[in-house]
Symmetry: C2
Subunit: 480 residues, 2 copies
């Protein structure tokens, strides 16, 4: 009959973990499970060493460690005991704890399927050049880019200067570089602005249909959303003289998701409206670089003489989303408060990517990349419009001069576009309805992003999409 | 006499900008400044082309662009006019706007000066290896790491799995990988927890002296801080049975900034306290990897059977701060709410660094790096303790077994430690006082971070620091 060990411990000499570590883990398990009870004496070091056929030194060191961790305590001249304080942990409490119920976690990396909106083609991104520039800034800035730089809540000054020049030249934005804060994507800028400018119950005027990320940020701050209708000239400016809303959100360059461009007269009316009501205008300029037939319109901020426009931009569309590089141009009175809140939120963003982006802008690579994307995306837009016509999609596309998405409107403005979107989702598409982005009843339509897909894929997908939509209509016809 | 041009425009053929772009900018400036007034006719394309000696095509294209941008409007058969809507912008408004007053912006990258606390030595970081692993993950994950991955609010599953294993093996943390959220530094985790768990007026029990980043997060949420005194066994657990506080913040492995380790009996008492009061415990395990004489203590989370400990950790000390990689282990009931708020806050963090970190952990490089830092930092700690003794600094150091900082206490517990800190700051040091971290009156002392400085620099700096402190004492003596 095999000899019974004095403690039910199994040490495995083949394991990577040292015998001392195994012994410690085993003893703690015996204590936690109640086999060794609080106040009980433990075997002497000599006994346990003999019993487990290990060196006495291993036992001494392990006991020493458990004393240090508070599991054991020494009574002078009486030996070692399991700490009495452990009597206060109840092993039953552990048993009572239900196994954790967790939401299903997504466990995969995602590639966009046709026609998910707002997805740049990351395959066009000059990753090698980016990595070369990254290596260069790491060489020249030495280790400084690795430290905490808590004084740089707004990001690297070099990048902020480059952005100021870029925004002035390409978007007409008038600002000092110190007004620019680099953020973790434009979403963080929207969240911070919501936290700074809104209180529970604040009213926010927002384009409807409109961008859901912005709406979520305003609602997180407890604001009430006042949907503002959109037509071919963009957001309709409220006719009332006084509207007690501290914030207006707009995408003037290309209304998201309809694609309408805010006309100059409305831009001026909006700025007047904001000045009259002492409201802030958040101008979200998410994809204005991509305008194919004409140069991009200058920003709303460039027209603003009252300092009430907050310009929000992003490198997610121009470069790649996963860098999470956004920025905001703050009117001077907001600079200090924004910096304070950002410091509490997450101190500052990752610096190596910021330094690389500055180099990317300064070297001219950004302009080259934008030009390349612009001509490639223009071809894809043509492919989309042509195939839509050839396939006789039951949609009209009024705004086809730019952007990353096309909004197609159904002939019947009241049809159930969400039904079409669901049917397309089941067929493997990612084509949101206009209703998806709307609080009010909006004109029925679908939003097709085309920039992440090459022309042949676009043509093929439009053909299949046309089949799904026409089956639907026939099906609907049969039922009626 | 030189001929007067019909419009005061100066085009420069040597400039990089095209003549068309220069003409557009010039015309818009004339419109904005009021030289060309709303409703005024502009010269015909033929006239202006002749006048400026440029091709008529250039003028046609420029006018076309300004029509598109709304600056000009065409009246059929009458010609082109400056848009009437522009009458609503007042050039005087622009002139009235004061030049922006901006806070002074810091324009430099910072290296820590002795003895700034909590600074790892970024020169020890194996940057080349990191870059090699980064290149490897970019090759193997293709372009997927560049896309939006909004479904991965909590970070890359691969990294979360690696962290779960790492935390179990090194810190005894018991969790499913789906409970782990990767955050932009631990500060973002603290901010998100504050937003989720606190309301204005909520009471937060917090070690005093304690970590200012955490205090700022609780206060941002409108909470009231209840300072809890700290002694040689760490935080004193309140004796009252019922304390209506939803959150307790603690640094049990090494109390920040005193360095005390929370004793086992207090750990158990704290867990009981939280269970009794239905409070959450935020365990900030900011530098437990650095313990030089014994293995690190297991985490408080590992003792918790009631699921009330939220474990917050960071790679800022173990790797480098500028990566901004922190994480939090959430009790299952908090997982879904945390994810929701994170999505609104900034969607998700940068992914390439996350994938690189996963590879860094899996390849064993993290353990190698920690071991290297541990032995190097142990030498620096020895250098600090020895020089402090040799220089007879008027400070005692009770906790010298680990960490990145040493808290030194003055013999007179009521002396004005902030005066010493200010004097040291003027002498070029960065040595905060214990009062700096305290709401209540705390024992007088100074906090010395030693990990960012090599042993010779430490010895030299301690010598100079000793001179500053003794001058101060002599000075004080002379005045008295």
């Amino acid at each position: 009959m095999p000899r019974q060990p004095i403690l039910p411990l199994v040490l495995d000499r083949r394991k990577d973990a040292s015998l001392q570590a195994q012994l410690a883990v085993g003893l703690k398990a015996l204590i936690r499970s109640g086999v060794l009870r609080p106040g009980a004496a433990v075997p002497s070091t000599r006994e346990l060493a003999r019993d487990q056929r290990i060196s006495r030194n291993t036992v001494i060191q392990t006991y020493d460690r458990l004393i240090g961790e508070g599991y054991l305590e020494a009574a002078p001249r009486r030996g070692l005991f399991v700490s009495a304080v452990l009597a206060r942990t109840s092993p039953r409490a552990a048993a009572r704890t239900a196994p954790p119920r967790l939401p299903d976690a997504v466990d995969r990396l995602d590639a966009p399927v046709p026609f998910r909106p707002c997805q740049p083609d990351v395959r066009l991104f000059p990753l090698r050049l980016w990595n070369r520039l990254r290596a260069r800034v790491l060489r020249s800035n030495g280790v400084h880019l690795l430290h905490y730089q808590s004084q740089l809540t707004f990001g690297l000054p070099g990048l902020r200067r480059s952005l100021a020049t870029y925004l002035r030249e390409s978007r007409g934005v008038q600002c000092d570089w110190r007004q620019i804060a680099v953020t973790n994507g434009s979403q963080q800028a929207l969240y911070l602005l919501a936290s700074l400018l809104l209180k529970p119950g604040s009213r926010v005027l927002m384009e409807d249909p409109g961008y859901l990320g912005a709406r979520a940020a305003w609602m997180q701050a407890g604001a009430t959303i006042e949907p503002v209708a959109v037509d071919a000239e963009g957001m309709r400016i409220p006719a009332e003289q006084r509207v007690p809303a501290p914030l207006v959100y707009t995408t003037p360059s290309r209304q998201f998701p309809t694609g309408a461009c805010l006309s100059l007269s409305r831009r001026l009316a909006l700025i007047e409206f904001a000045a009259r009501n002492k409201a802030w205008i958040v101008e979200d300029d998410y994809d204005s670089e991509f305008r194919y037939s004409r140069p991009p319109l200058p920003s709303l901020q460039s027209l603003d003489t009252s300092g009430r426009v907050i310009y929000v931009g992003s490198m997610s569309k121009v470069l790649v989303p996963s860098l999470r590089l956004g920025f905001v141009v703050l009117p001077p009175p907001l600079v200090a408060r924004f910096a304070e809140l950002r410091a509490v939120l997450d101190d500052h963003g990752p610096l190596i990517d910021q330094a690389t982006l500055a180099e990317f802008i300064e070297s001219g690579a950004l302009f080259t990349h934008i030009r390349r994307c612009r001509s490639e995306y223009a071809r894809r837009l043509d492919a989309l419009v042509e195939s839509a016509q050839r396939q006789r999609l039951p949609l009209t596309f009024p705004h086809t001069d730019g952007g990353m998405n096309l909004a197609g409107f159904f002939a019947d403005p009241d049809c159930d576009d969400e039904k079409h979107a669901r049917r397309l989702r089941r067929a493997g598409f990612d084509v949101p309805s206009l209703s998806h982005y709307s609080l009010q009843r909006s004109q029925a339509g679908l939003v097709l992003g085309f920039t992440a897909f090459e022309a042949p894929e676009i043509r093929d997908s439009i053909r299949r999409l046309g089949q799904v939509l026409s089956r639907r209509q026939q099906g609907a016809g049969r039922v009626a």
